[in-house]
């Protein structure tokens, strides 16, 4: 068991050089992360970035090709009962058996999970006014999502993994669903990983952020630290990379000025800042989008190198 920082519990998630190859194509590579117990993690990336690959390895559905993975210190191989027991999973589109009643679904959960807590599941349905006798196919999409969530929570696993949980829901159902997730996280202290490309949804929820593109981790860390470590600078267009107080993540040039997202610390910024620069803090969505726009194949460790490459599409648009 690996010790977590501070408390006695190991980190919720720790990966070292984790990778998964499908044939000749790497779905995810060089993924090294440590997520503390109790975090609410937003896992962001475009389609095909490796979100589902990472999530399925965490859940225990997919065996890594290389690297090390532990969930609360447990390193059981994929598809073992031990690996499957450690995560409650709400899959994309929250699949359920449509000819089952809600009670049947919970019966299945009880039959297939030794740690199942029936009271948790039924209490959630009562609170939401979903009758247990109703057939799943007669429920709305939002209600089906709630049944899936209830099943994942009643499994009483220390980690809750949600794959695009709200992408198929209407705005009201999205709010309801996410409110339930956050309430559960607050009540039980469960660690939550939410994979999504709806960045605006994650902003209010997540205190931890992982950005994936092209099978690589672009950015990972506590959301507040990441926001504090970036500044949005408005500088004269002639400003060279070397004059900036840190590596440029993203740069947009207009006629006379350039807007540059720079990874920098307060001390370094104070030392290099010039009077004609505009300096602003960066928003969550702005930060995520800047990293998502970086070309695939760059990794978290060399943003300077990444920013040095030309980005023709962005320049063409903002001329």
């Amino acid at each position: 068991m690996t010790q977590g920082d501070g408390g006695g519990r190991p980190p919720a998630l720790r990966t070292v050089g984790l990778g998964r190859r499908y044939g000749h194509v790497w779905g995810l590579r060089d993924c090294t992360l440590t997520v503390p117990d109790g975090a609410v993690v937003g896992l962001v990336g475009p389609n095909g970035a490796g979100k589902t690959t990472l999530l399925q390895m965490i859940i225990g559905l997919l065996q890594p090709t290389e690297g090390h993975l532990e969930v609360f210190g447990d390193t059981s191989p994929a598809n073992s009962a031990e690996a499957l027991a450690r995560v409650g999973y709400v899959a994309q589109d929250h699949p359920l058996y449509h000819d089952f009643s809600v009670a049947d679904m919970f019966h299945l959960g009880r039959a297939m999970n030794p740690s199942w807590d029936q009271a948790v599941a039924t209490a959630r349905m009562n609170a939401l006014g979903i009758p247990l006798k109703r057939k799943v196919k007669t429920l709305s999409g939002g209600q089906q999502a709630q049944v899936s969530l209830a099943m994942a929570l009643a499994k009483r696993a220390p980690l809750l993994a949600l794959d695009e949980p709200v992408s198929s829901l209407d705005p009201i159902a999205r709010l309801d669903f996410m409110r339930e997730v956050m309430a559960a996280a607050a009540d039980t202290g469960v660690t939550v990983v939410i994979a999504s490309h709806v960045v605006s949804e994650l902003e209010r929820l997540c205190d931890w952020l992982i950005v994936l593109t092209g099978g690589r981790v672009q950015l990972a860390g506590p959301a507040d630290d990441l926001l504090a470590a970036h500044r949005l600078l408005t500088v004269p267009r002639a400003t060279r990379e070397a004059e900036l107080p840190g590596p440029a993540v993203h740069r947009a040039d207009s006629d006379r000025h350039s807007t540059v997202l720079v990874r920098t610390g307060p001390a370094r910024l104070a030392a290099q800042e010039r009077p004609d620069w505009g300096v602003e803090p960066v928003g969550f969505e702005q930060l995520v989008l800047a990293y998502l726009q970086r070309p695939a194949g760059t990794s978290a460790d060399d943003p300077a190198q990444a920013a040095a490459r030309p980005e023709p599409t962005i320049k063409a648009v903002t001329r």
């Binding site: 559905l61 899959a91 299945l108």
Partner: protein, 298 residues
Amino acid sequence: MIWVSWRQSRSQAIACLGVLVALAVYAILLGTSMRTAFSHDGLGGCLARSHGTSCPAAVQAFTNKFGSAVNIAFWSVLLIAPGLLGVLIGAPLIARELEYGTWRLAWSQTVPRTRWLAVKLALVTGGLIVLGAAMTAVITWYRAPMDRLTGHFLHNIYDFEGLVLTAYILCAFGFAVLAGLLVRRSIPAMIVAFVPWLAIRLVVEFLLRPNFQAPLTFQQSCTPGQCSGGVGLGFLPPVTGHIGDWVLSQPGGQLANTYLYQPADRFWTFQFIEAGLFVALTVAALGAAIWLLHRRPA
């Protein structure tokens, strides 16, 4: 897991029970009237005395009355019925989970997917064995009077008595489970499984079965060109004079009075060989399905 398997197979089990009940009703109605006619015509005594040669009119009357109902209706429909039954139950077992995305639910509970499949296969296979045995028992019971005239070796009898009916169902089921995993959709998987099942079934029936054991020869004591008797259902008793012998070849040429045949007492040996063949195919298909599911990326 047992409850889960039952809950997911419940409607299929009820449908199978319905098929069995319909078969039983048909069998009781026809079987009862056959029994009445059989004893009324005194066929039992005639068979015991002379293998049916002393009462050709009564034998003819009985086969005319019931032969078509027993043989044609059954063989043409029931030739494919075990295959249809097997693929209808086998194909959705994995394919339905892949089709509707519910595999992500089923295989992320605290039951490893190979155990999930093994428990399901054990229970459904058990159910199919019970179903096959019950169908065999019903058919064997109602056909009993006719079988006393014809024996058990003719195609339309052999295929539905003994062990092979159950083995045919299991084989189609095994093929369909594997096809469901590979094709990932229920309806195409049914077709993909049924075609090879039928091909193997026909090859075994018409090419392999006559030679499971080396046929015996029978010399008819008559001069070539004037011999009576022949091959097939129309000749009761067969040319060998012993009810239940399966006469394979028509005489011709120099050996005009020599017949190849399989004796009636090889029935169970042949049933074991053929059922063993189909059960081995079933085990291979289901083993492959478990292995492939274990190796499947996610």
